[in-house]
C-alpha cells in the first residue's frame, strides 16, 4: 500500500480478504500546546472499521478507555453517519501500533473534539461506498438508494442488501472525495442515551485490567522507591527478610529496588519489611512550609506576562474600591482506583506488554529502548484502565515492569502498593494566586490582575531545561487564568515559575482547577465590593447571547437561584470554561456540628453537540465528585523530603454519604462537540467555597476547605 497521503486522504480500504471490508481512517491529533494539527504525510489510520460478511461491524479505536466512554461515543459517531444497526456493532480497544493507529495519546478531553468531523465523514464515506456497490449490483442510480440499519435499500424495486454482503464490491468502488453529512435533525444515534459497550464485562468480573493479565510461567514483583524525592539506593539487607519464603530476586532498577517473588503478596510483604538504606540526597529537608515560603517569595515579583489588556495600573489607581486576595491550592494525588501496575514479557527477540496507559506509543518507544529491540518487536496491549485522570500519561510503571522482566528473562507482573502509588505520583502542582481588582464609582469592575505562582508541568515534563529556570511562561499553567471569560477593560495575568523537587503532572482538568478556584471566589469578593448579586455581577460582564451567558442563565433558571429560600442551606455560584466547554454550577451547603455538607449541586453545561447524554452526565458528575474530594477532603503535603500521605486513610476521598444530589442540565446545541471528561471539575470548588461564605461569612481562600478555617 502506498503510504503517502494528501491532505484530504484520510480514509482508505486497508484490506479485503475473505473476511469482509476493512476501512482505516486517520484522525489528526491536535497539539494542545500550539493548537496546531499535525499535518500527516504518512497514512496511519487510528480507527478501523471492519464490516464482516455476517453484517456485524467491528470498530477498533486507538484511544484508551479509562471510564470516559470513548469506546462507545467514538463508534456512535461513525455508526450514525454510516447508518449502522447499533446492536450489531462491536467495539475493541486497539493495541499500540503507531503504524496502524497513529498517536494514541488520550487526554485533554480531546478524543471527540479532535475527531468529530473526521469520524462523521468516515461514516458517511463508508455508507456511500455501500450505496455505490449496491446500485451497481442492481443497475440503478445510486441516488435512488437509501440506507438503514446496515442495509442498502432500493425502495422502488423493494430490494435490500446487507452491508456484509456488499463488502467485496464496496472495496472496489473509488473512495468518494465529497460526501454529504446528515442534518443533525436526522440523527438517530447521536444524542441518544445509548448504553456503553463496556458495561457488561465490568459487571461480571470479566473486563481485563492490566492487573488481571495472567501469563504462563509468570513471576510477580513490586518496586520500592526512595521515599525522599531524588534519593538513591545505597544498600539493602537481605537478612532482614530471611524468614519470608518465596522471594526470588532483589535488584536495583532505574527507579528503585525491584523485589521479585512467587506471588504479589510475598513481594509486597518483603518490600515492606526489607531494610533498605537510601542516600537521601539533597531534598531531605524539604517540607510543605518551605514550599509555601518559596511560592510566597516568588509571588512578590512580576512574572512572565500571559495576558495584557488595557492599563491595569491606571485603572487600579483611579479606583477607591479595590480588593486584594491571595488564594492557595495544595498538591493533589490522582489516586486512580487501580494502583500502577504492568505485565511484561521480555524475550530474546520480542517483548509483549499489557499496560493501562494513556500514552501507548510513548511506552512502546521507551520499552524498545530498554530492551534494545526494534519497535516492531514490542507489542503493547492497552487493557482497560482502572482510572486515568492524567496519571497514566506518564509511563514510569511500564518501564519498571519491562526492566524487571528483562532481568528475569520471564514474564513479570509488576504491581505497586497503594502506598508507592500515592507517594510516587506526578501531582497536581501546589499553587498561589495573587488577585487584585478595582471597581469604579458606578460599581463596574474595571481592573483584574491574577498572578499564578506554581511549579511548571510543561518545563518538567515536556521541555527539558537546565536548572536554574529563567522566567518563562508555562502556557498550560495559566489555562483558565489568561483566558478568563469576563469582559473587563483592564486585565493583567502573569505567571511565576516555582519549581520544587516534587514531581508534577496532569491531574484531571490540570491548572484549570486551581485557576478557576481563584477566579471564581475572587469574582464573588468583587461582586460583594460592588454591592451586587454574584449572578448579576457576572452576567453584566458577559456579552448578550454569548454561550457563557446562556449557560449561566440556564443554570439560574434550573437551580432557581433567585427564588431559593435558604433554610439550613446556603448557595454559591461559579462559572468556568475549559477544554472548549462552558460550565456553571450552584452548590448548596450547610455548615453545622463542625461539618460542611454539600447537599446539592446544579450544573449547566454547554459542550456543543451532545453525543451521548448519559455519558456526558456521568462524566460531569464524576468530575464534580473528583473536584469535591479536592475541595473538601484530600491534599498532599511534604515532610522530610517525602510525601506524608500513603493510603485512603490519610488521603481520604469523597464517599457516597458525602456526595450531593447532582443535577446536570445540558444546553441544546448544534456546535461541534467539546470536551466532557474534565470541564465539570474546575467550577466545583469555587461554587462550594462561595456557598460556605454565604453560610458563615468566612471567605475561603485555601483548599481543601476545613472547619478550622471557618470557625
Amino acid at each position: 500500500m502506498n503510504n503517502i497521503m494528501d491532505r484530504r486522504d484520510f480514509i482508505r480500504v486497508v484490506s479485503t480478504t475473505g473476511s469482509g471490508l476493512v476501512l482505516g481512517l486517520y484522525l489528526p491529533y491536535t497539539n494542545k500546546l500550539n493548537g496546531k494539527t499535525k499535518a500527516a504525510t504518512i497514512f496511519e489510520p487510528n480507527v478501523w472499521i471492519k464490516v464482516h460478511p455476517d453484517n456485524s461491524v467491528l470498530i477498533m479505536v486507538g484511544k484508551s478507555e479509562m471510564g470516559q466512554g470513548v469506546l462507545t461515543s467514538l463508534p456512535m459517531i461513525i455508526a450514525e453517519e454510516m447508518d449502522l444497526d447499533w446492536s450489531t456493532v462491536k467495539v475493541q480497544q486497539a493495541p499500540a501500533d503507531k503504524d496502524k493507529y497513529g498517536s494514541q495519546m488520550t487526554g485533554g478531553s480531546r478524543s471527540i473534539a479532535s475527531s468529530w468531523k473526521q469520524l462523521r465523514k468516515a461514516g458517511a464515506t463508508a455508507r456511500e461506498m455501500m450505496i455505490s456497490a449496491a446500485a451497481k449490483e442492481w443497475g440503478v442510480p445510486a441516488g435512488d438508494c437509501t440506507t438503514k440499519a446496515s442495509h442498502v435499500i432500493h425502495n422502488m424495486s423493494n430490494r435490500k442488501m446487507s452491508y456484509g454482503s456488499l463488502t467485496e464490491k464496496a472495496s472496489q468502488v473509488p473512495i468518494p472525495r465529497r460526501v454529504s453529512l446528515k442534518n443533525p435533525k436526522q440523527f438517530s444515534i447521536i444524542g441518544k442515551n445509548i448504553k456503553r459497550k463496556d458495561t457488561q464485562p465490568k459487571l461480571n468480573g470479566k473486563a481485563q485490567f492490566s492487573m488481571d493479565v495472567q501469563l504462563e510461567g509468570m513471576v510477580y514483583a513490586t518496586v520500592v522507591r526512595s521515599p525522599v524525592f531524588g534519593g538513591q539506593l545505597k544498600s539493602f539487607d537481605e537478612a532482614s527478610i530471611s524468614d519470608i519464603q518465596g522471594v526470588i530476586k532483589i535488584f536495583k532498577i532505574e527507579n528503585g529496588l525491584a523485589i521479585v517473588a512467587r506471588s504479589i503478596w510475598v513481594a509486597i510483604k518483603a518490600g515492606k519489611r526489607l531494610k533498605i538504606t537510601w542516600d537521601k540526597g539533597e531534598n531531605d529537608a524539604l517540607d510543605s512550609n518551605k514550599i509555601k515560603a518559596l511560592l510566597v517569595e516568588k509571588s512578590k515579583k512580576q512574572g512572565a506576562i500571559a495576558r495584557k489588556k488595557g492599563n491595569v495600573k491606571k485603572a487600579i489607581k483611579s479606583s477607591d474600591n479595590q480588593v486584594e486576595a491571595v488564594y492557595e491550592s495544595p498538591f493533589q494525588a490522582h489516586a486512580t482506583m487501580e494502583p500502577m501496575n504492568c505485565t511484561a514479557d521480555v524475550q530474546k527477540n520480542k517483548c509483549r506488554i499489557w499496560a493501562a496507559t494513556q500514552a501507548p506509543a510513548r511506552a512502546q518507544k521507551k520499552a524498545a529502548k530498554i530492551t534494545g529491540l526494534p519497535i516492531k518487536k514490542v507489542e503493547l496491549n492497552v487493557t482497560y484502565l482502572g482510572g486515568g485522570f492524567g496519571r497514566r500519561s506518564i509511563n514510569d510503571f511500564v518501564y519498571d515492569a519491562v526492566e524487571i522482566s528483562k532481568v528475569m528473562e520471564k514474564p513479570v507482573k509488576m504491581v505497586w502498593t497503594r502506598e508507592e502509588d500515592m507517594q510516587h505520583d506526578y501531582y497536581r502542582p501546589a499553587s498561589l494566586h495573587v488577585m487584585k481588582g478595582a471597581i469604579d464609582n458606578e460599581n463596574h469592575l474595571t481592573a483584574w490582575t491574577h498572578r499564578v505562582v506554581a511549579p511548571s508541568i510543561l518545563f518538567s515534563q515536556l521541555v527539558k531545561m537546565p536548572f536554574p529556570f529563567k522566567e518563562k511562561l508555562d502556557i498550560i499553567s495559566v489555562e483558565g487564568a489568561k483566558n478568563i471569560r469576563y469582559d473587563i477593560p483592564n486585565i493583567l495575568v502573569d505567571y511565576r515559575m516555582a519549581n520544587t523537587p516534587v514531581p508534577v503532572g496532569w491531574w484531571r482538568s490540570v491548572y484549570d482547577s486551581q485557576n478557576a478556584f481563584a477566579n471564581e471566589c475572587f469574582m464573588d469578593e468583587l461582586a460583594e465590593a460592588a454591592g451586587k448579586d454574584p449572578l448579576q455581577f457576572r452576567l453584566e460582564l458577559l456579552p448578550k447571547s454569548s454561550r457563557e451567558r446562556n449557560v449561566l442563565t440556564l443554570l439560574a433558571e434550573k437551580a432557581g437561584w433567585e427564588t431559593f429560600n435558604s433554610g439550613p442551606y446556603y448557595q454559591g455560584l461559579s462559572f468556568h470554561k475549559s477544554f472548549g466547554t462552558y460550565v456553571a454550577q450552584v452548590a448548596r451547603v450547610t455548615v453545622k456540628d463542625n461539618t460542611i455538607k454539600v447537599g446539592e449541586i446544579h450544573c449547566a453545561v454547554d459542550c456543543g453537540t451532545v453525543i451521548n447524554p448519559s455519558i456526558v452526565d456521568a462524566q460531569i458528575s464524576g468530575a464534580i465528585i473528583y473536584g469535591l474530594s479536592a475541595a473538601l477532603k484530600s491534599k498532599i503535603t511534604v515532610s522530610n523530603g517525602r510525601i506524608d500521605q500513603s493510603n485512603f486513610d490519610d488521603f481520604d476521598v469523597l464517599r457516597m454519604d458525602e456526595t450531593p444530589k447532582i443535577h446536570v442540565h445540558l444546553i441544546e446545541s448544534d456546535a461541534a462537540p467539546s470536551g466532557v471528561g474534565e470541564p465539570g471539575l474546575p467550577p466545583a470548588a469555587p461554587a462550594v467555597a462561595n456557598a460556605v461564605y454565604a453560610a458563615t461569612g468566612k471567605r475561603i481562600r485555601r483548599l481543601p476547605i476545613t472547619i478550622q478555617d471557618i470557625i
Partner: protein, 169 residues
C-alpha cells in the same frame, strides 16, 4: 543481588481447601496469605480487585457465607471454612438482580471498583431489602469509587430494591 528461589519453601506452606463459588480448590500457600491474592493469582478469580490492601476502599469485597468481607484483610486460613462468593459466582451470566440493575443504570465508568460495589450492595440488600437513602449511604460509604459513580450506584440500588419488593409481593 540475591537469588534465593524458594529457599524456605518447605517451611510454612500448607494445603488449604477453599470453597469458591461452589467449587472446591486445594492450594498450597502460607497461612497468612491474603484471600485477595489467592483468589486472583492462584485461582484466577481476577474480578476481585486490589485497591488499597488495608481495608480502606472496598475494591476487594467478596462474600464469606453471604457477608460482605474485605478479602485483602482476610487470611486464607480464616476463609477456609466459609463459602466464598466472588463477582464471578454471583450469577452464571451476569443476571443477578443487582447486576441487572447496574446494567440498566449503566453504572460503571472505569469499572475497577464495581465488583466490590456490587458485592457490598448484594449483601446489604439481602439484609435490608427496603432501604432508605440514608441506609444506602451508610452501607456503601466504605466503598470508594474514584470515577464518582455514586449517583448511579444509588439509582441502581433503589432499582434493585424496588424489583426485590415487587418480586416479594
Amino acid at each position: 543481588m540475591v537469588d534465593n528461589f524458594c529457599k524456605f519453601s518447605s517451611q510454612i506452606m500448607k494445603i488449604f481447601t477453599l470453597n469458591v463459588n461452589g467449587k472446591q480448590h486445594s492450594i498450597s500457600v502460607e497461612a497468612d496469605a491474603p484471600l485477595l491474592w489467592v483468589l486472583r493469582d492462584e485461582l484466577g478469580y481476577t474480578g476481585t480487585k486490589f485497591g488499597c490492601g488495608r481495608g480502606l476502599c472496598g475494591a476487594c469485597t467478596v462474600h464469606l457465607d453471604g457477608e460482605a468481607t474485605r478479602s485483602c484483610m482476610t487470611t486464607v486460613e480464616f476463609a477456609e471454612d466459609s463459602e466464598i462468593t466472588t463477582i464471578e459466582g454471583l450469577s452464571e451470566d451476569g443476571t443477578h438482580p443487582v447486576q441487572q440493575a447496574w446494567f440498566e443504570e449503566d453504572v460503571p465508568q472505569c469499572g475497577y471498583c464495581q465488583s466490590g460495589q456490587i458485592m457490598t450492595a448484594v449483601s446489604f440488600l439481602n439484609r435490608n431489602p427496603n432501604p432508605t437513602e440514608a441506609d444506602i449511604d451508610s452501607a456503601m460509604k466504605m466503598n470508594i469509587c474514584r470515577c464518582g459513580t455514586y449517583p448511579s450506584i444509588r439509582k441502581a440500588i433503589n432499582r434493585a430494591a424496588d424489583k426485590q419488593l415487587s418480586a416479594d409481593e
